[in-house]
Symmetry: none
Subunit: 247 residues, 2 copies
DNA sequence: TATCAGCGATGAGAATACGCATAATTTCAA
DNA sequence: TTGAAATTATGCGTATTCTCATCGCTGATA
């Protein structure tokens, strides 16, 4: 899960950055609107958190520019200003949430969670596919009722697979989901993690859930459902369900 | 835009109902969780606003039940409770926003707008022509319900054909779609892929879908529909239509 | 009808991607 | 600081796909 934070102040926000980092969010932290816009040019984010007062541009204008660039990433505003007109202006510029400083850490985390899952069109924090269950909040993963011990990266990969189940995900997408803009490792590690994930899933009887799509990437499917199709190596249900929940 | 509000208290909320009604939202107002669940059975909403304290069920439990019914409508909680654990619990049950009473009307309206505007514009990822179906997300292709195993390039070609169905596509277009200008192989390769595609489609009864336009390129059509229509649809017509089916 | 360019089909070698093991490096808690 | 776990890098055998050369055929044109 990838977050961009634009904030010049280094107080409570830097604490937030740390907390999020430890929750295995990939956080990029910039100090100016210009830097933020630049990051948006190169990377995709699941959430953008911004101050309203940045040195080079009013935050509200920044939000407007982001939206004008057709970036639909959810935006959370963090600000000391509590007056209603300011809030309304932020929302109408394109913000999705507004949190006033000083903020309560756990509430803010909950809001961040709500915004990120919503950006995938998902309403619940528990995701299921066949025998596999993943809870976005507690980061617990179970297969047929057995809880798996996943490392942070393994979890992140499985998380993305579940958030976008039924879609082919390229290694680029995984890299983007797992790492901050700078110093991404080589693409080849993704298949190492996939390999490890598969083995852990298999240990409790969840085989053939992660399918390789040659030359493209990987896709997560319920093997029980996919089994119905004979001729192809990668089956899928006939007349299958809509891939995205309305939201 | 359709909104369901569950609230037993008739003070500020009834004012909200009025205001929203005037803003051309269609608002249904119920007083109990039971009524709310009943409404969800019969109607679809773009937003659900609920109190946390309802006479028959804790609001948090109501949210959970809604989510369990696979209803992914955004949920806003309105409550007098301001403590962080309560908020976190609401979010984790599946809420998308939490507003404390007494609430500021204009801010709340802005939040409502932020929640509802996201429900627009969900892209359709499935393309169909006759017996042929292609899903852009999962890259699955089926013919008469049989799933095909296509290689990466084969898929890309079929994808372009479907995205621009009914139009003549030149080999240049295919090359550009497949290689994006860098390291392009010989143009002849397109023939090869088209040939392989045709054979795979044929295997499951989809014949004559990809038609050759001599000297120009290829076109995808539903054979059942195209039977009557000659290929005058492209503005490329030079006398009689030079169409030929491969055998 | 002759001629020529475009198309269909095939198969084999080249190129590429993948799975997995293992090794090297980093991180983090004790 | 040290040791264990996690992360990253590398290497290689295997599997799959891509590409090209080739040949026979088709349609356009004069």
């Amino acid at each position: 899960m990838r977050i961009l934070i634009a904030d010049s102040d280094s107080g409570a926000v830097s604490h937030l950055v740390k907390v999020l980092g430890k929750s295995s969010y990939a956080v990029d932290h910039v100090k100016t609107a210009d830097e933020a816009l630049n990051m948006f040019k190169h990377y995709e984010y699941d959430l953008f958190i911004t101050e309203l007062v940045l040195s080079d541009l009013p935050g509200e204008e920044l939000i407007r520019q982001v939206r004008r660039s057709r970036i639909s990433t959810p935006i959370m505003v963090l600000s000391v200003r509590t007056d209603s007109p300011t809030k309304v202006a932020a929302f109408s510029a394109g913000a999705d949430d507004y949190v006033t400083k000083p903020f309560d850490m756990s509430e803010t985390q909950a809001r961040i969670q709500a915004l990120t899952r919503r950006s995938y069109g998902i309403a619940e924090s528990r995701l299921c596919v066949g025998p596999l269950e993943l809870d976005l909040e507690s980061r617990m993963v179970s297969v047929n009722g057995h809880f798996l011990h996943l490392t942070s990266k393994e979890y992140s990969i499985l998380e993305l697979l579940l958030l976008r189940k039924g879609a082919v995900l390229t290694k680029d997408m995984f890299l983007n989901h797992l790492y901050g803009g700078i110093d991404e490792p080589e693409m080849k590690i993704i298949d190492v993690f996939i390999c490890k994930l598969r083995r852990k899933l298999q240990r409790f009887g969840a085989e053939h859930m992660i399918t390789t799509v040659w030359g493209r990437g990987y896709i997560l499917q319920d093997p029980a459902v996919a089994a119905g199709t004979s001729a192809s190596s990668q089956g899928f249900t006939e007349g299958s369900a809509p891939l995205r929940q309305a939201g």
